[in-house]
Point group: C2
Chain length 443, copies 2
């Protein structure tokens, strides 16, 4: 295989692999790739690999691991090993892993830190995981707005940080007042004051801004890092393109996973009982909705006994509604996320979705009706399923618009829970329409 | 409402709104926000708003619009208006909108361009939409590797491009040989040759690299832009953090939309017939799978006639399998995307998923069995559903691992088609297990 992670996994899962061979393979790989490979081998084998990794590389790899995988590994280590591991952790790394560390471990790590890093950490933890204040780094160039260009250039020459081509200027009380571009300084005279070259309208982020919103703002601003300020306009740090890219990557993963009730921190080899528990909750919610649907089918037991073909066909009606409704729901959820849905266009949207649903409902119900008439040699049964499909697809369009809008008003994320509610509605509506019409027309 | 886009939508949907009022509202907003608002009003009203927008702002707004919305608008314009619109389009903008333009319109735009931009365009279109060669910009600083620091600094002072803190160096044949950081130049003497300061191992991208992979590489490299090279190591352009953030944002949208068979270019107010056609295909695919499932239920008509409770309960068995299978599928799809799944760990993974499935299957089937025994006063029916659920959840775990791996081997994206195939399998397996056991044990 040409993929280096796959090659490392193959190597690590071999029996009797030597410490030297592991170290050699790992030495040339970036820590995030090693972390991925470590997460790809069964939990029981990880400890041996971990012990083979050089002490100096361990922390970087640990930081790159997923929450659950990290916790599984840390549980295996004793207090001495953990203290050694955290001997030179910085605030940024500790913030990234804090959520999967028990408090005593965090205390050990904090004791090892210098005062400045400890302050950064304490400031960082005051923000939520999805607030940009938690995502900052502190390698920013800060200077008093009173300095001259020559002094500013001296600072620029010395910095070793990535994404650094702006200097953050503060006033006497330490409040951020604006930024100056390196390029501006290059075109200025050494004795000029930077305050005269400063961009006062340079964009900034409030520390409590959602990190995905912050990534949007960074993208729009076309700079590689933005200052992050607290409510007093004091600098919390900066949010750079690398972190913004990471935030979007993790967000996409989280959305994908949460669609099936999974946690994005899940380990590929999470212990069986742990996995079963976390997934079981979602199965339970689904079970409740399935029982609800069954209860409605139960109302029509007498009909089903007489026309068993209804039982054969009822999943078709439910599933067509579910698919059509999910399409509308997805479109509306995207519109809500982009701020496109307002009172002003909601009615037009609903009308349009009902029209689309109506058209598709008619087209497909004619085909389904024809197939069913022929299959069961009963034009009346064909009519029943055709009508039920039209009704359910219209119901799906209506629910697909209304459910996410209502959830949004209730401050519940429609991307997470919209789909479960919608399919429950379309299942039940489908069964009632189909079995109800069957009772009326076929008995 | 505090959201500026929502406010603009409210304004634009008012009756008798004046051109002046529209222009005033739009003037302070970035083009992407105006584009979003324009996409949020019914198609019939857009032409009037468009005509109110100043000629100089129109192209920027058009570029920011979604493919379908853009096409709907362009269809309304006459040839003269289109020629005017494209009077100063550049290669980058034209590449972004080319897919929604008919060829004659592209020809008009190409005629308006200068020779350099036309070359950029022609090079860009040789790459696919998802290849990074199509995503480059050309505002890069290029110089011969033979120049001195003083000359390089002069070039740096003059550039107005964002994300510019590296210079791209080429040899006599025009091939890229490496980069030099602005910071390195700042710390060098004016008479030094840049070739001695150059980083030869500066990371670069091949133009045919997938743009999402390119964004990963940019994130890892911790620089704000990477050079993009063709197969001869000639510079195609550069890929910067702004484009990488955009690529990830659009990718996430596309994945979300495609889960329900929608195109990410879809307009919120797409014309009814157009919408119905594009969504109808997905409904049709789903209909086929639903008919397949019904055909299997049909095999058990005789059983259903005698034990109608089976008809009432069968959706529960199918849906529990679907949910459990989707959880496994999602985990495996993520693992495949990250390169974590190899021959070496596939068997361990399958074993673990079967164990999780088995455990959850037993726990939930006991509860379901108990509820059903009580509901229908039939312990035997409870036993039938409990067994069927265990079987279907195990089947789901097996399919959840095997389906994406096989699709991946066949070069079919498992994130797109895995879910439809999986739920078809779990539906059919669920019906067969439940109705089959019912036939054996209850008749």
């Amino acid at each position: 295989m040409s993929n280096p992670i796959a090659e490392l996994i193959e190597l690590l899962t071999q029996e009797n692999i030597s410490t030297t061979a592991i170290n050699q393979a790992i030495s040339s790989m970036p820590p995030d790739d090693v972390a991925l490979a470590l997460e790809s081998i069964p939990v029981a084998q990880r400890r041996f690999v971990w012990d083979s990794i050089k002490q100096t590389n361990r922390l970087d790899i640990l930081v790159e691991m997923r929450g659950e995988s990290r916790l599984l590994l840390l549980k295996e280590l004793n207090e001495f090993e953990i203290a050694e591991l955290f001997s030179d952790v910085d605030a940024e790394d500790l913030l990234e892993i804090a959520d999967s560390l028990p408090d005593p471990m965090i205390d050990i790590a904090l004791q090892k830190m210098d005062a400045k890093q400890r302050d950064y950490y304490r400031q960082g933890v005051t923000y939520e995981e999805d607030e940009v204040g938690r995502w900052v780094d502190h390698e920013l160039l800060v200077a008093a707005q009173s300095i001259r260009v020559s002094e500013a250039m001296r600072l620029f020459r010395r910095t070793t940080a990535s994404y650094s081509n702006t200097m953050y200027l503060v006033n006497r009380t330490g409040r951020w007042v604006g930024c100056v571009h390196l390029k501006t300084l290059l075109n200025a005279q050494p004795h000029e004051h930077v305050s005269e070259l400063m961009e006062e309208d340079f964009p900034f982020l409030e520390a409590q801004t959602d990190v995905i919103k912050a990534a949007d703002l960074l993208e729009k601003s076309e700079v590689s890092a933005l200052p992050v300020l607290d409510e007093n306009h004091l600098l919390v740090g900066r949010f750079h393109a690398g972190h913004a890219l990471e935030a979007r990557r993790l967000e996409q993963e989280a959305v994908q996973m949460s669609n099936t009730g999974l946690d994005e921190d899940s380990d590929l080899f999470s212990p069986v009982r742990r996995s079963a528990t976390s997934r079981g909750l979602w199965l339970g919610i689904n079970l409740l909705t399935a029982f609800m649907a069954s209860a409605f089918i139960g109302l029509f037991e007498a009909t089903l006994e007489q026309v068993v073909a209804l039982a054969v066909l009822m999943p078709i009606v439910a599933s067509m509604g579910g698919i059509a409704g999910s399409q509308t729901l997805t479109l509306i959820v995207r519109g809500l996320a982009l701020g496109q849905i307002t009172r002003a266009n909601l009615v037009s949207l609903l009308k349009k979705e009902l029209q689309v649903g109506g058209l598709n409902g008619i087209v497909w119900s004619l085909s389904i009706g024809a197939v069913v008439s022929w299959w069961f040699q009963s034009p009346l049964l064909g009519l029943v399923i055709a009508l039920a499909i039209v009704i359910n697809i219209l119901m799906a369009a209506l629910s697909g618009v209304i459910i996410p809008v209502v959830l949004d008003k209730l401050k519940i994320d429609p991307a997470l829970s919209g789909s479960v509610i919608l399919t429950t509605v379309t299942d039940i509506a489908g069964y009632i329409a189909f079995l109800g019409l069957g009772t009326l027309l076929l008995l």
